[in-house]
Symmetry: C2
Subunit: 506 residues, 2 copies
Amino acid sequence: MTDRSRLRCNALADRVMSAEDAASFIAPGDHLGMSGFTGSGHPKAVPAALVRRVTDAAERGERFAVSVWTGSSTAPELDGALAAVDGIDLRMPYQSDPVTRAKINAGLLDYVDVHLSHVARMVSDGFFGHLDAALIEVAGIAADGALIPSSSVGNNVTWIDVADRVILEVNSWQPGELEGMHDIYHGTALPGHRTPIQILGPSDRIGVPYLRCPLEKIIAIVPTHDADYSLPSRPADGDSELIAGHVVDFLTHEVRRGRLPATLPPLQSGVGNITNAVLAGLDGGPFPPLTAYTEVIQDGMLQLLRSGAMSVASATGFSLSEDGFAELHADIAGYHDRIILRPQEISNHPEVIRRLGCLAMNGMLEADIYGNVNSTHIMGSSMQNGIGGSGDFARNAYLAMFLSPSTARNGAISCIVPMASHVDHTEHDVHVIVTEQGIADLRGLPPRRRAQQIIDHCAHPDYRPALQDYLDRATVTGPGRHTPHLLDEALSWHVRYLREGTMRPH
Amino acid sequence: MTDRSRLRCNALADRVMSAEDAASFIAPGDHLGMSGFTGSGHPKAVPAALVRRVTDAAERGERFAVSVWTGSSTAPELDGALAAVDGIDLRMPYQSDPVTRAKINAGLLDYVDVHLSHVARMVSDGFFGHLDAALIEVAGIAADGALIPSSSVGNNVTWIDVADRVILEVNSWQPGELEGMHDIYHGTALPGHRTPIQILGPSDRIGVPYLRCPLEKIIAIVPTHDADYSLPSRPADGDSELIAGHVVDFLTHEVRRGRLPATLPPLQSGVGNITNAVLAGLDGGPFPPLTAYTEVIQDGMLQLLRSGAMSVASATGFSLSEDGFAELHADIAGYHDRIILRPQEISNHPEVIRRLGCLAMNGMLEADIYGNVNSTHIMGSSMQNGIGGSGDFARNAYLAMFLSPSTARNGAISCIVPMASHVDHTEHDVHVIVTEQGIADLRGLPPRRRAQQIIDHCAHPDYRPALQDYLDRATVTGPGRHTPHLLDEALSWHVRYLREGTMRPH
């Protein structure tokens, strides 16, 4: 059962057990810190066994639910399966699972949406209470007990550090060549003892390749051989390619104006179709060699590394399609020294992002005419996924760009609205907005001029006249002309959508 | 005319001239970078001469206006006088002047509200265009041409660095003993060349006590002897003392729970009555020796330094009453080694704030039931002052607290509302809200539980039932139960205030 090449520590041989036995260490009400970041490196077997415990308890008429803390999103077999049986009390800091989302928005599951760089320190500082157990996937255990991290690092350093007990899944599906790709920094400390994070470039290493855990804390080791969760690969659509084109043009222009070095600062890029298209656009662009200091390696970034357009990428995990994982595994030796996986506290650390001057590109749900961005809440109330690392990067980036098609739901929703129904990134933190219509460069502009840029360049033509009308009337009759709003109309577009299924004016 | 003890550089003797002559170097349309932070260290004579040029031009039927970039707020004789004659095209990054505010909200003056730590880098990076001239108050000029900074540092390093030409006011009202109190860091650089800011504690020095400017850039030197702008000193009111009491109790509790060290992390505190009351409360509290890593030294902080309850304070300027300035000047030798004035890029640097784990205490205009905070916009449209450094500190602080009385305008405005009419600090960045009613500790809580905390502990009893009713109905009938809102009612409290002069329910 046990792959000796993956479990090389004799002192731990007696902890090997089935997922069912390991799951028996988990009690109702526990706070569990799990590995996993955007579908990579999450535990696969013990959560399934935990689901069986939850359903068994339910059959006995007992409630069995736990708090699930992770790196970010996981996979259907973890988030989805546990949420489906109402096995989650509280979830943080990020999710993107449809079942979990439905439970959150039905009010059946508490969700705390946290900046990804803040999680580790808030837990270490005691803000979320006690962590009962850590459930961590690793790629292997070295002879001396050092843990070879899996395909994501996430908050694993912190979970292992603060949990009472640690359950490990050793996943032999993960390539053994992951060993050495990580840079695990154990130097974060409580206030009063913190020192500078000495990263001066994306390729800098400040830690060690292994996670460390006192052996006596490890109560169970479960061998697995299960694939990471892969996202379906969708070809870039027309809007994504238009957005990508605008971004590449803009960056080219900024280099020409001398406001960006020709070797662009490190890229940060969220996940999804649009950012993959932007990355593809950069592959053919005039900028190599690029670097990335980002959260996840997605297909587009792997392609840049493969083509040589990118020299090195720092992240905390992968978010790949099935083809992407196959490509990574097929040539992992070639990627070994060009991808560095760090704890998300470091991959998303404001100190490093500010120092390196990242170019941040993130998606959004909607922006208002003044440049306030909603990344999380559909119609102000329902959670989509979460803020993730977008705030970590946007606040401290050299350039903070937000990208979205100008409409959604076949044009029934305008992604440019009079007032955002929720704000995750304030006007102070949004430099550039890009839709398939064009680009609004908001830097240095006061609110009404920001509004005019966004309406003229980003709004869909179908909605542009109504937005202009709102701005014009608000400027004349609103209670103040700095950021003119008509408060009894400001959210009327959302109200109309909720009532009529469209934001389109009559 | 010239005080030789203040102007010790012979090579610059020929640049001494009247304020009128110096102002003649300023042209319509110029971008001017001025010294000044919350009423300390701003130029006093040349702006007045500039006002005369503006009014002379107006009499000739010509428009004369400039862009004014500063550290933060200045004084009536600068902001107020220039705004009154419509001499300002664009103002950034912060102001608190009633005349300027009125012009901004009448749509007659463009204002860009920027995180104070971001200004220097955005200007250096070229986001605001070219800086024509810097107008900087200094306390003196050393024999070798080194500039002895005045009572604030603000963005002076950057203004001198990027401006085409520099006009200095040498103010002999400023104590000569300011020499040596500053820590001027010239090490910030463009992305790709930045290194860690090596500050590990509030008293650390990483720079030199002087501003440096190539002598050939200095085109005018104007001797002055004028007081800084002092705020009227108001005795603490009952609400402020109640808020202060809640804060001190909370911090005491956190120390007892082991979530804060007994020697509190460095304090950051905004200006105003409430924070002065909190600082007074800490003076009698169980915590000495305190430190501060903050933006301004206000009366309350000076008192802590005087009493010995605070060992050292790092800031970028002063915000003092007339008595406060008198006290500072009377015992400046005693404060000399315990106050460090830094560029605001450093005093407010996210890297340092996160490392030190500051306790951030800032005022607010309103918070909504989910903990989104509005610091800037009255009824969503009119600018009050600006975000200042509150975002720099709140985002990266160990604990981010926002303080306000629960009502304003004799109870006609509830500072706790269903939805904030503008968001400067998102739910992700707000840990604790305090009103005279009590304290809401939002850490680790999902939205509906945050709302219950805020309604129960912070809202005024007159508004509590209506807020509870909103939350309850939104939870049942809203479009989603994660952050339940009724979008057609969410801003109705503000609309009612604008129509009827009160938010009180009928």
